[in-house]
Symmetry: C2
Subunit: 473 residues, 2 copies
């Protein structure tokens, strides 16, 4: 059972019921591609977060930009909210219809439109998922590195400014989106950016849309950068006597400027859960999982340097892999961490944190939060994109236990306060959604959040684009 939505997040529901006239108009325009079946609406009114909210009143399955534009124009005519939907993997309540409205499902807009291998760019519809994209560009020798874990859509990844395991080397969606097509709140279709690698041509509307969580428009086309598949890839896992030792190794690797492609932390709790779940015999100690990309000689050089640094911090039990199969085996613990954790406490929900701090503050931020979590008695898993200073606790709570929820929220609150005091952010990659609105205010301050509100009001005067997310209006 999901928790009821806190009442302060539900200001306008009563005022924003979807009029029958809009439903009729959507039916007339979209026929079977507009559904009001409860099961369809419920499926589109939830995400991986743990809040309950009323589902949208209808779901439109868009097949083209024109479909999106027409749906938004109709919604605008009746001042009814619009919530874009990809595959539903967001974590912060982005998809919940907290003020009612309709969902626009972009899953059928899933074509890879243009692969420009000579320019290392690709243009896709928003419903293309990252795994699909990598499958479709495979034969070109290029790949798209952003890997947030879930097989999210490119549109959704833009909307939340996603990143993940490869960001330490390749950057986030912020650095990798070149251009967008967007349907604005009035239903107008605009383009932002070009395929040029850089530009100083006016306001950076691309970057404004990336991370706007559906509150400024619906993304209907995405152009991203691709990268040549590395000539050589090498992976390694290494165990450490303490989280501190693993984190200090990471800090040193980053400060030395080693172009490591991935460096992920898993704590000993999580290793234990994975051992049970996947019947493995990994050392139940904190572990770093690393990947190196480059020429054979370059990869060897990086790997030797990192091994030396890790050994200096007590790192041991190095295992290396260079074939894809061996790499997959080595990374099992990381790939299965979430499911192993969830299954370790039947019926539980994970409350996930997402702080990110400057690399030198990572040990301070992480170690104190581990102590607090241990003291609370709440089981948790801990994984981290530590090369970026970003990590996630997943507090495993019984969703029926108000006490556990409150304990987890209190832990998260302390963690965020600590991260902000250390000049970090409350969310490295998940977005604000419903859950972090108060944290955003603490982080950015009234002035900056008011500037966001001003932009929102100007670009969406009827407040129909995914309203009630990021900030209250």
């Amino acid at each position: 059972m999901n928790a009821p939505l806190p009442s302060h997040l539900l200001p306008d529901i009563a005022q924003r019921e979807t009029p029958q006239a809009l439903l009729d108009a959507l039916k007339a325009r979209f026929g079977d591609r507009c559904s009001i079946a409860l099961v369809v609406r419920e499926q589109h009114g939830r995400d991986e977060s743990s809040f309950a909210a009323p589902p949208p009143s209808a779901v439109v399955f868009a097949e083209s930009t024109l479909d999106v534009s027409d749906a938004v124009k109709l919604a605008s005519q009746y001042s009814v909210p619009v919530i874009p939907f990809g595959v539903g993997t967001s974590l912060e309540g982005h998809l919940l219809a907290v003020q009612g409205g309709i969902s626009i499902d972009l899953g059928r807009m899933n074509k890879v439109l243009h692969i420009n291998n000579d320019d290392l760019t690709v243009t896709v519809q928003p419903g293309v998922t990252r795994k699909q994209l990598n499958e479709e560009v495979k034969s070109t020798g290029l790949f798209f590195p952003i890997d947030p874990g879930a097989d999210a859509t490119l549109g959704g990844m833009c909307a939340t400014r996603a990143s993940g395991t490869n960001a330490v080397r390749y950057g986030t969606m912020r650095e990798n989106v070149l251009a967008l097509e967007v349907v604005t709140a009035s239903g107008e279709i605009i383009r932002t950016g070009t395929r040029a690698k850089k530009s100083s041509a006016g306001y950076d509307l691309t970057r404004l849309m990336v991370g706007s969580e559906g509150t400024l428009g619906v993304i209907t086309e995405v152009t991203v950068r691709l990268y040549p598949l590395p000539e050589a890839i090498s992976a390694a896992v290494c165990s450490f006597p303490s989280i501190e030792a693993a984190v200090c190794s990471t800090i040193e690797v980053i400060q030395m400027g080693v172009p490591i492609a991935r460096v992920e932390l898993i704590d000993h709790n999580t290793v234990r859960m994975v051992n049970v779940h996947s019947k493995l015999n990994l050392r139940e100690e904190p572990m770093l999982l690393m990947e190196f990309h480059g020429s054979p000689a370059g990869v060897k050089e990086q790997a030797e340097l990192v091994q030396e640094i890790a050994s200096g911090h007590g790192g041991n039990a190095f295992e290396w892999a260079s074939t894809p199969e061996e790499r997959t085996r080595l990374w099992t613990a990381r790939h299965n961490a979430f499911f192993a954790a969830i299954q370790s406490k039947p019926g539980c929900k994970a409350i996930s944190t997402d702080t990110c701090v400057p690399i030198s503050r990572l040990a301070d931020c992480l170690l104190e939060s581990v102590s607090e979590a241990d003291a609370s008695g709440i089981p948790y898993f801990l994984v981290g994109h530590v090369g970026d200073g970003n990590f996630h606790f997943g507090y495993l709570i019984d969703p029926n236990s108000q006490a556990e929820r409150e304990t987890a929220e209190a832990l998260n609150h302390k963690l965020v306060s600590r991260a902000l005091a250390l000049e970090g952010t409350c969310t490295g990659e998940h977005g604000v959604g419903l859950h972090k609105m108060d944290f955003l205010l603490s982080e950015a301050g009234d002035g900056a959040v008011n500037m966001m509100r001003t932009i929102k009001r100007a670009l969406d005067p009827k407040n129909i684009m995914n309203p009630g997310k990021i900030f209250s209006l």
Copy 2:
């Protein structure tokens, strides 16, 4: 003599005279730090562009964020324009007081505030120049790579989204600014971003301000990323039988994913001008100047691969350098190109282009434009950050010759049209300013430019922040 400003750029000057009451209030608040001397005003009312415009009515020399805030508040009270000034190296008329108003000189806000070497970040006041910054961080073993040629201020480089020779490897200001302090149009002081390397916390106000050319606020503090000084640096120059051969080599280097740090093109015209200016004997052929950063082995590997690629395109006369002195000597041609060109035609002004196209389109874009320039009879220089698809023609015109100016503008117009047709941008790094307002409209379209206007009107309802730049309102 600079050309008179085209009349369509001067809509409101008459309406926006600076009232004596504002001048009195500024004098009362700033004393000697507010100047109305003509020579001071004229110095702040021009930049490297070739337009003439009335100078600002007064110049305030700010020494703190509070100074900036108070100056903006006074200007806002009287609805008088505010134009931020760094060191005056912009190229597109950004500093011209086309609608009157006051200039805020940020040159005295030139302190490096916090060097966080463990996090590879530094926070500076906006008047710090890039050379000063690199001097001040030298002892930490870190450096700031963005190099637009001129010794611009960090505030100015943010405002125009500058890049330059190292961007092919290290990115532009877009990728390297982490956080800002900004004085808004109402005089409020806000902060955008944190020192965390990545964040999904709300709208990306940092990226909105970067490239906004002073039209949304005055940048009063900048936090940027630093990089470890490479263990090894190697530089090379190589001559080619044609521009096409040089460009095709570059395209292949980029497509192979070689992490080259710099790759600059100079055409044979420009080499000839440099030979005359600097009494050198360089081969008067198109030339690539390259730089490789990394470990000694990595640099060697990159250099060998690039030499092989270049040789395949007829590249010859390779010269290599690895000490700083030798590198400086090799790069003489690039460093002196602008001055050598200007001195090749006494009394001339350079009209500079700034298109940037996807790398696969670079040869098409460049070669046709070279043919057109050759056919026109106007002397020019040609340099390019070709690894990014960005290059600059400098058409050398007699500023008193209307015919030459028109010829140069026509060449630029054709070049921009070509770049846009090839999915590129009218400005890779100089910004829009006054000169490229029409080009921006062609590039981004009415919809996107109207979105920019809407944001501008919402954040600056009195239209006082550097009005008349980027777009007309």
